[in-house]
């Protein structure tokens, strides 16, 4: 145990994903020795993150406004929606510069083992969007995993009766991984070669 102010930082850092006790200790002592301004900026940016960032009311991307920059952009094709598991997947697809529609962030994928069913994801919100917007095609860009695939199949069952085409990224993505394992070129090709479910 360290003095309480040090130990508190270690404990908080160690709760972050991918950071073990040892790394947390190293970071805490690093912070102890950086210039005061740097530490304050880090602290303030974390506070701002929670204060100023919220979820886009339309697509659940992270944004500082009511709607995210993509939803506000009039050049984006409103008939095309790309469904992703997490907000950070949007950046991965944007990097390919192959996609001109909007997004919808589900918040995960169907996984009964973890107790996640359709009701724990933003499926109802997507159905509502299909009813209210001029959407004609939904691209399921969930991860190339058993759970991501099943979520895509579920989306197809859910949305097809509403007259929407549901397509899936073409194969060629590394199976079993996250979207961000794929490089831009592979992902771009997978988008262009998507097939109807």
């Amino acid at each position: 145990m360290y003095e309480p102010p040090v130990q508190r930082v270690i404990d908080e850092l160690a709760r972050l994903p991918g950071i073990g006790r040892k790394t947390a200790q190293r970071l805490a002592f690093h912070l102890l020795h950086v210039e005061a301004g740097d530490a304050v900026r880090l602290g303030q940016s974390i506070i701002d993150l929670r204060d100023q960032v919220r979820l886009c009311v339309r697509c659940f991307n992270v944004t500082a406004e009511e709607q995210c920059a993509i939803c506000r952009d009039p050049r984006r094709d409103p008939t095309l929606v790309c469904v992703v598991e997490r907000a950070q997947d949007i950046a991965v697809i944007e990097r390919t510069q192959e996609f001109e529609g909007r997004y919808h962030v589900l918040g995960g994928s169907i996984s009964p083992i973890e107790g996640i069913g359709p009701d724990q994801l933003r499926m109802k919100e997507l159905v509502a969007r299909v009813g209210n917007e001029s959407i004609t095609e939904v691209i399921a860009a969930t991860n190339p995993t058993v759970e991501g695939d099943t979520t895509a199949l579920y989306l197809a069952r859910l949305l097809k009766p509403l007259g929407v085409t549901v397509s899936r990224l073409a194969s060629g993505l590394p199976v079993g991984g996250d979207l961000d394992y794929a490089d831009e070129i592979t992902l771009g090709r997978a988008l262009a070669g998507r097939r109807e479910l």
Partner: protein, 369 residues
């Protein structure tokens, strides 16, 4: 290919072990409980990422230690491949190949294949179908990464579908279940494709290996069949047909829907396949003598060895765990006949039982010298 070094930390009884076997035959001599089998188990773990004694990872960690580490170098023509596994007492297993996390764990089994002859190999023939499914799937995974990926995908899909049924039982949301059915059918057909392709190759190799072990005689055949239906449903004009297989499984799932909702588990699919062995016209499990069964079991290991040697262009590492005390002369000769080519690790309690030369190692007190 051969194992040039093995490094163990807190693995079973070993606090620390450094072992550098020779590229040829290595005979590990020591009393029962000295830790001979553990060395072989560690080598097989690095190769296939699971214990051949089917011990869960947590039980492989030395009592009181906070985790086990297994590391080994496999020397090939192109250079050394280093495989490292960390098994922490708390947290996730870490696997590194040449210092990097492999893209897919399924790819690891084909990197450094080993074949192990174990004292209880007779179970391969005598036990229920599960052990033969594992034999076939393990062999397939060592032959090709695609096979291992098909196994992993089917198992994960099955776990998810079972979790859904277990949680909600008769109240399960039918649309969710139907979607898992579709996913299960796709994964099942992919795995069946692999199993059918493998058995086509395994059949003749197994028969030839059996003739070498038991002498020429009746034909030995491998027969894949679903325990829940007829194999004919998966074939068209006698040929394996993926579309028909998908339809057969879809029909079986819907016919059993109500029962599965009540039993809260998946009762049909590749995890319920039977893999039978037929000698002449007799089922080896039910109708062969103990001696015939022993020959078939040895032939199964010899067949693995031959298929892996053919596929990889070099012999796999051969592990013989205390098998010479179990085998008679003729079968021993058949095993010995394939020894000189590659690396062999043999364990024995009595050195004079081992009918081959090679480097001798004394095992005991946590050391191999």
């Amino acid at each position: 290919m051969h194992l040039s070094w093995l490094d163990l930390r807190d693995f079973r009884s070993y606090e620390a072990l450094a072992f550098e076997p020779s590229p040829g035959i290595n005979v590990l001599v020591g009393p029962n409980g000295a830790g001979k089998t553990t060395v072989l188990e560690a080598v097989a773990y690095l190769s296939g990422l699971s214990s051949f004694r089917r011990t869960p990872d947590a039980s492989l960690i030395r009592t009181g230690a906070d985790g086990a580490v297994l590391r080994g170098g496999f020397q090939k023509e192109a250079g050394e491949t280093r495989i490292e596994v960390e098994l922490p007492a708390a947290g996730r297993r870490r696997v590194l190949v040449n210092g990097k996390r492999p893209g897919r764990l399924a790819d690891v089994a084909a990197i450094a294949p080993v074949v192990a002859f174990l004292p209880d190999d007779l179970d391969l023939v005598k036990e229920s179908a599960g052990i033969r499914r594992r034999y076939v799937d393990d062999l397939g995974s060592q032959l090709a990464p695609g096979y291992a990926a098909a196994v992993a995908e089917y198992e994960q899909t099955l776990r998810q579908r079972n979790a859904l049924l277990r949680r909600d039982g008769p109240a399960t949301d039918l649309m969710s279940l139907e979607v898992w059915d579709e996913r299960l059918i796709a994964a099942a057909v992919a795995l069946w494709n692999e199993r059918v392709r493998l058995t086509l190759r395994l059949g003749p190799t197994l028969d030839a290996a059996h003739a070498a072990v038991a002498g020429p005689g009746e034909l030995l055949a491998v027969v894949l069949s679903p325990a829940w239906g007829s194999d004919d449903e998966r074939r068209e004009d006698g040929e394996w047909n993926p579309e028909r297989a998908a339809r057969a499984l879809r029909d079986a799932l819907s016919a059993r829907r109500r029962r599965e909702l009540e039993q809260r588990t998946t009762t049909v699919g590749p995890h319920r396949d039977d893999i039978g062995l037929v000698l002449g016209r007799r089922d080896v499990r039910a109708q062969a003598s103990q001696g015939e069964q022993r020959s078939v079991a040895v032939a199964m290991r010899v067949a693995s060895y031959r298929l892996l040697r053919e596929r990889h262009g070099h012999p796999p590492v051969l592990l013989l765990d205390d098998v010479f005390s179990e085998l008679d002369l003729a079968r021993t000769a058949a095993v010995v006949e394939m020894l000189p080519e590659g690396q062999v690790l043999v364990t024995t309690t009595r050195e004079d039982e081992v009918p081959v030369g090679g480097r001798r190692w004394a095992v005991g007190d946590g050391k191999v010298e």
